[in-house]
Amino acid sequence: MSVIRSLDQLAAAVPDGAKLAIPADYSGVAMAATAALIRRGVKRLHLVCVPVSGLQADMLIGAGAVETIETSAVTLGEFGPAPRFVDAVRCGAIRLKDATCPAIHAALQASEKGIPFMPLRGIVGSDLLANRSDWKLIDNPFDANDRIVALPAIKPDVALFHAPLADRDGNVWIGRHRELMTMAHASKATLVTVEDIRDESLLADEAMAAGVIPALYISGVAEAKRGARPLGLWDRYGSEDEFLRAYVERAATRDGFNRVLADWLGRPAVAAE
């Protein structure tokens, strides 16, 4: 059965209440699919930001789609704070699971390896640990005088991201952005939007194959030209800085956010070249 889907089919494959893993703004964010998700009115998401997020998390929060966010940070970087995230935190409107980047990576690796937890250095003495009842300080079984944090595995229901290329079998090229592969290995289902879908297999060439997530892990692929916009895609295209600057300003209020969101959802899709 083909894994090629439409954007709306991808959005329909993310159930309300899903634990949804999303990458950082610089790592291939499926913004076109996020628009489709918001249009379909997705609810009660548990976002797992790998390891941080920006515009995508902020828009989903503003759209009322997020119940819980597990992240090491939410920020629009040089453009400023993430306004709907900050507002939701101040109102207590979302449940926070504050983390630190390597802890999110390690907890996904635990799921990838099918182990219940991963030990990790650092973290001891932080208020992150004090506020994460699901993280435990355990004895190092190999050193009676050493304690170490144990992080339970994070197994997302769905991983969602954008990449440059897929083939018709469902293999997806992610190059050096290996966190996307860990997300796919760790998650029950993986949905991907891509710039292009190729007819020839991405595994046919050994150089390309080194950067491929095999179809085995991929549940659905949809073509979405400029599918990361208004964010950028690696060295392929940059972000729309004017949009981001205006977003931070307009989304400072709920009404302003609703208007900027409506404008964005109303944009025509990028035509295929």
């Binding site: 941080v52 040089e78 504050d98 630190t100 650092g122 506020n131 860990t182």
Partner: protein, 244 residues
């Protein structure tokens, strides 16, 4: 007006702090630390690596987002920079917010990798330009990453220095206190005392931070200006007294 800009002074201090490192990692959005690292690399005669996170061209990692952290845990990163919305006298840093948690008065982005790298990178340089009692507090409201403690936790890393617009501090890991090393030219000890919310140690005579030497300035503005502009184009356009 001095012959060098505030940024050029800070870049010069950062480069001095990095002397002898084999591998320095900096963020793509950290132009002063990054420029200091590029200057230190130029001085090292090819012995120092600089990894700029989040960039494609200056990113030598190939194992995804986890590699920086694994690499630090392997002992392969000698220096890194952390900031903080609040920094306290025990070296605790807060990147989360003020007031209560989780419903904060002011919410910042979050802790990023601080809770980890602060334990594993030997020379963590706390870099925060704003030096006020709002930032330099007696006790942080939320500990994103704790300063060194005597609790037996495995820790090879921690605060090496604190660099602000006003001054440079060392951190004494035994006493767990900052020690003022120097006050930047144009500023005074009184200004530092007035603007610091935590107690710190200091020598009887506090020296002035050495101004960038003519050699350093010509390196910043000459051979490495291009590199800095390539990595930090917006910054390079504004920060230097003269840019190639």
């Amino acid at each position: 007006m001095s012959a060098w800009s505030r940024q050029e002074l800070l870049i010069s201090v950062v480069a001095d702090l990095l002397a002898g490192c084999r591998h320095v990692a900096v963020g793509a959005a950290s132009p002063i630390p990054g420029s200091g690292a590029l200057l230190a690399r130029a001085r090292s005669g090819g012995e120092m690596r600089v990894s700029v996170l989040g960039s494609t061209r200056n990113n030598f990692f190939t194992n995804g987002g986890v590699e920086l952290f694994d690499c630090a845990a392997q002992g392969r990163i000698d220096a890194f920079f952390l900031g903080g919305g609040q920094i306290d006298g025990q070296g605790n840093i807060n990147l989360v917010g003020t007031g209560q948690y989780p419903v904060s008065d002011v919410r910042w982005p979050g802790s990023f990798g601080s809770a980890y790298l602060y334990f594993l990178v030997p020379r963590v340089i706390l870099f925060r330009e704003e030096h006020t009692r709002r930032v330099m507090v007696e006790k942080v409201d939320f500990i994103s990453a704790p300063g060194p403690r005597a609790d037996g936790t495995y820790r090879v890393g921690g605060p090496h220095a604190l660099l602000t617009n006003l001054a440079l501090f060392d951190f004494d890991k035994t006493c767990r206190r900052f020690v003022l090393r120097s006050v930047h030219p144009g500023h005074t000890l009184e200004e530092v005392l007035d603007n610091t919310g935590f107690a710190f140690d200091r020598p009887a005579q506090v020296p002035a931070t050495p101004a960038p030497t003519p050699e350093t300035l010509s390196a910043i503005r000459g051979p490495i200006a291009g590199e800095i502009a390539e990595v930090y184009p917006h910054f390079a356009a504004t920060a230097f007294a003269a840019t190639a």
